[in-house]
């Protein structure tokens, strides 16, 4: 579809990035909420590598070998389509050193949260500029 040309490239990538950053924020909030829960192990959410792979794969071949259904086992050597990326959750397998066995490093979680927030805001800005550019073109430069 020609409309894909208009919205399908940067906008798809950036909006997926926004979705995943919002999800990451939820995991970080969960870790901060459980900063005092005994034997809680912190969870890390990552999607950057998957997203990078998907972008690289899209650039390399026009028709990538993608699974027909998101729940199918991925084909060998194939990357996910950008819209199918769900991110990976890792649960740390060590308990904390404290007496309550809590594994949350509050400073690190807050640092990650700040980083995630800045990158989220940056993505919003990029997306807004992209729409602004489209609008400018639609109005014929007026």
């Amino acid at each position: 579809m020609p409309i894909d040309k208009l919205f399908g490239t940067t906008i798809e990538l950036v909006s997926k990035n926004l979705d995943l950053r919002a999800k990451n924020h939820m995991y970080l909030a969960g870790n901060v909420a459980n900063a005092e829960t005994p034997y809680y192990r912190s969870k890390t959410f990552s999607f950057e590598d998957q997203l990078k792979d998907a972008v690289r794969h899209r650039e390399e071949s026009a028709a990538p070998a993608v699974a027909a259904h998101p729940n199918h086992i991925p084909l060998k050597g194939s990357a996910h389509r950008i819209e199918d990326i769900e991110g990976i959750v890792d649960e740390s397998n060590v308990n904390g050193l404290g007496r309550d066995g809590n594994g949350v490093d509050l400073e690190r979680e807050m640092g990650r949260m700040a980083e995630n927030q800045i990158l989220f805001n940056a993505s919003v800005k990029i997306l807004a500029k992209k729409f602004e550019g489209l609008k400018y073109a639609i109005k014929g430069g007026n």
Binding site: V32, A33, N34, T37
Partner: protein, 146 residues
């Protein structure tokens, strides 16, 4: 919706920390109470925190918890009394002193309570910051298309 779940998670932690704060205040207020309704000196109370799913978990969520793990809020699941022995103080003039002149005072240590109070208030602040971050991200997303 991710942002509302994030807010719910942070809010659950704020509630839990505030409950803990109330218990600490109660412990400190009763640091010298020698009589209670159950008899004997006051016993230190502490909250038990348990990680939990925001909202009622669906079958899918329960299943996925075994695999990758979903973000969890926190909940106070029990308020337990510290069963350690009371502090004994020699004060024969006290109305609750035993025949040897010892008074059984609550097993509350003001210093421990103060330290707990500081961790509770720091954790509360951290969750407020997280909630503010959620709010500002959601507001930022609303700016799209303006």
């Amino acid at each position: 919706m991710d942002f509302f779940s994030s807010l719910e998670i942070s809010a659950s932690a704020l509630t839990a920390e505030r409950t803990r704060m109330n218990l600490i205040a109660g412990n400190m207020a009763n640091a010298n109470s020698t009589r209670t309704a159950e008899g004997g000196p006051y016993k230190r109370k502490d909250a038990v925190f348990t990680a939990r799913q925001p909202g009622a978990p669906t079958f899918g969520e329960t299943l996925s918890r075994f695999g990758s793990g979903t973000p969890t809020g926190v909940e106070v699941t029990a308020i337990l009394e510290d069963q350690s022995s009371p502090r004994l103080q020699h004060d024969p003039k006290h109305p609750d002193a035993d025949e040897k002149g010892f008074v059984a005072l609550p097993n509350v240590s003001i210093i421990e309570e103060m330290a707990d109070m500081i961790t509770a208030s720091r954790a509360y602040e951290a969750n407020i910051t997280a909630a503010q971050a959620t709010k500002s991200m959601a507001m930022k997303a609303l700016e799209l298309g303006q």
